[in-house]
């Protein structure tokens, strides 16, 4: 049953300082960025009603920049902007791939990377690329700034390492190097937009067909997005051969703990984690001429 929102106030601060001041002076506000998840959750009653601080208009948190080998993305940058950003396409193409499949054009135009991070769905498509690109989150408050690795930010299902008064301002990623190739993958239940049953991102640092280093992250298979260190270890130092790719893919099972839900069973998610990792490795191997 729909929850009417006629009694919800929405404050519109004019800059980040005002947001921080509001956040420190009063509890119980929720931040509204794109609103693509929050409004649905409020109207369905999934999230209790509270007044909102609409930060979607803060242009100062909407940018993609390069700075000494890193990419800095303002928290309110939309997925359309990320998908179209030349910087992202060149230095973090796996994030551009994820941004393009995050939802419809309409969702891409409103949904923000910061919103996706804070909403903390384990199936969020932007997260696996952030995990393999060693993303650091910049949390600001009147008390100062904290920088935190993305995997430290999620303590459990929808549990965030964020303090009252803090605002996620920026995401900083490492740029992919010259020898690095990678792909984002997602398994949805239709060809058009669909929430992922399993998603993930793979980066391989290659020397010819030999893997110098691998970074693998999977989503929707644990309370938070997870890295797959065992699978990464299998690949490290090996050539991209069929048996190696399967061995690495199977090793991913050690890192995941999926559950049954409306989109798929835990057993199917385990299978899909293995198979998607294999398919992604195979595609990368093919692209570099290894198979």
């Amino acid at each position: 049953m729909e929850v009417p929102l006629h009694d919800v106030d929405v404050l519109v601060p004019k800059d980040v300082t005002e947001v921080l001041r509001l956040l420190s002076s009063r509890r119980g506000f929720k931040l509204l960025a794109g609103g693509t998840d929050l409004l649905v959750q409020l109207r369905s009653g999934a999230v209790p009603k509270s007044d909102l601080i609409d930060i979607s208009g803060l242009r100062e948190l909407r940018y993609v920049k390069r700075s000494n080998g890193h990419i800095a993305i303002g928290a309110l940058t939309t997925f359309s902007e990320i998908a179209e950003s030349e910087i992202v396409k060149r230095y973090a193409p796996i994030l551009a791939e994820a941004a393009e499949t995050i939802g419809s054009v309409q969702i891409m135009n409103k949904g923000t990377i910061g919103g996706n991070i804070i909403n903390a769905s384990p199936a969020a498509d932007s997260l696996p690329p952030l995990y393999v690109l060693d993303a650091e989150l910049k949390l600001i408050s009147l008390n100062g700034t904290r920088i935190m690795g993305i995997s430290d930010f999620y303590k459990g299902y929808k549990m965030l390492e964020i303090r009252p008064g803090e605002l996620l301002a920026e995401v900083k990623l490492r740029a992919m190097g010259a020898g690095e190739v990678g792909h984002f993958f997602k398994h949805g239940l239709r060809q058009g937009d669909a929430i992922s049953v399993v998603n993930g991102a793979v980066i391989l640092d290659l020397d010819g067909d030999k893997v110098r280093n691998a970074a693998i992250a999977l989503g929707a298979v644990a309370p938070t997005v997870v890295r797959a260190p065992e699978a990464e270890k299998v690949l490290k130092g090996k050539k991209l051969r069929e048996d190696v790719m399967w061995e690495a893919s199977r090793a991913v099972l050690k890192s995941i703990s999926p559950i049954d839900d409306v989109r798929g069973s835990a057993a199917y998610r385990r299978e899909m984690s293995v198979n998607y990792l294999y398919m992604t490795l195979w595609r990368l191997a093919k692209e570099v001429g290894a198979v």
Binding site: V10, L32, G35, L39, D54, S104, V105, Q106, I107, K110
Partner: protein, 160 residues
């Protein structure tokens, strides 16, 4: 003993924006959506509601030229912006004509949203490929046509 209930307090604020090129001022609850304002307050019913949660694309409007769900856009996000609804599209526009002529309209409930999405596509890519059309309208569900004639209509409007 029945406890008397009280109506929750309706909050209203004033919002200014441009609707189809015309300056507008409306008083509305700030967390009400543009879709609610268009349909319930302004009775501009060309923009349809299909799901009210961003899944179907029926309520698509242009916000500063970009297609968004009006059901997921609250009034504070509309303040000061340009909104284009189906009523703001020239009835003589080639997209309207090609949708009509190609048979892309059946029950027609999804059509306004589709025309808005296609309009935005053609602004960005005047000569899109079939794949690009399908991508651009992937968030606009249609239950009648099977999409074939819709894709043809957009391509034909683009002269492709």
């Amino acid at each position: 003993m029945i406890k008397p209930t009280t109506m929750s307090r309706r909050i209203e604020k004033e919002f200014r924006f441009f609707l189809n090129g015309k300056a507008m001022t409306v008083r509305a609850p700030p967390c009400h959506t543009l879709l609610e304002i268009l349909r319930y307050e302004l009775r501009m019913t060309g923009t349809k509601e299909g799901c009210a949660r961003g899944d179907c694309g029926e309520c698509t409007v242009l916000l500063n030229g970009e297609p968004v769900h009006s059901c997921l856009t609250v009034m504070t996000q509309v303040e000061g912006k340009n909104v284009t609804t189906i009523e703001g599209i020239d009835p003589e526009h080639r997209l309207v004509r090609s949708f009509v002529e190609a048979g892309a309209v059946q029950c027609g409930h999804c059509t306004p949203g589709l025309i808005i999405s296609s309009y935005a596509l053609l602004l960005k890519r005047p000569r899109p490929t079939e794949e690009e059309v399908k991508e651009a309208i992937r968030g606009n569900l249609c239950r009648c046509t099977g999409y074939s004639k819709i894709v043809k209509a957009v391509l034909s409007a683009a002269g492709v």
